[in-house]
């Protein structure tokens, strides 16, 4: 699954560690999400989208 996490994160000056702590996951999870190698649960996708104040479909692209 393609995501805009890296783009949105860097635009807000956040590191992977910052985002991981914000949504309560390990840093590796953010790495795998950014590479598109992991499809998150709906709960995690919602948390990440909320962190960026965006809708889920604007962060995660099919």
């Amino acid at each position: 699954m393609k995501t805009r996490i890296k783009e949105l994160r860097t635009a807000r000056g956040m590191t992977q560690v910052d985002l991981a702590k914000e949504v309560g996951v390990r840093r590796e999870t953010i790495v795998f999400l950014e590479k598109g190698k992991y499809n998150p649960s709906l709960q995690l996708a919602h948390k990440i989208a909320s962190t960026f104040d965006m809708a889920i479909e604007d962060v995660f692209l099919l």
Partner: protein, 135 residues
């Protein structure tokens, strides 16, 4: 809760070293053969791996990260499945080549340890190369 992880790590290391010591004492008097050496090596690798993993989790906990999350759990379950399948084949091979194994204790002990080693290796591989779109 803070000291649970290092305690588990320490215990796993002590248990491994104790087993190794027990084997060393029990077998004192003659040199271990290749199979016994391999078993001791797997014991040590498993113990050291458990120690490293628990220490890493403890460090992450200290830094405010959860020791496990949904990705690590998914990797754990998937690696467990692959390890189970691989272990079945390993046991089949062990029974096929049982004529080369000196006694039943060595066969069972070695097989169980080999299964543990396979589990460690697969989990380690999947942690580095996990890709949900391929696996």
């Amino acid at each position: 809760m803070k000291y649970v992880k290092p305690a588990i790590a320490l215990v796993s290391l002590l248990v491994t070293l104790s087993i190794w010591g027990f084997i060393a004492v029990y077998r004192a008097g003659y040199e271990p053969n290749v199979l016994q050496t391999a078993i001791i090596a797997i014991l040590l690798i498993s113990g050291v791996y458990a120690f490293v993993v628990h220490m890493r989790q403890y460090r992450d906990e200290q830094q405010g990260f959860p020791p496990e999350d949904e990705l690590s759990n998914r990797i754990k379950y998937k690696a467990g499945y692959y390890a189970f399948i691989a272990s079945m084949y390993v046991w089949m091979l062990i029974f096929l080549f049982k004529a080369f194994i000196p006694d039943v204790e060595t066969m069972l002990g070695g097989g169980i340890l080999l299964s543990a080693f396979i589990s460690i290796a697969i989990r380690n591989y999947m942690t580095r190369n996990y890709d949900e779109n391929q696996n």
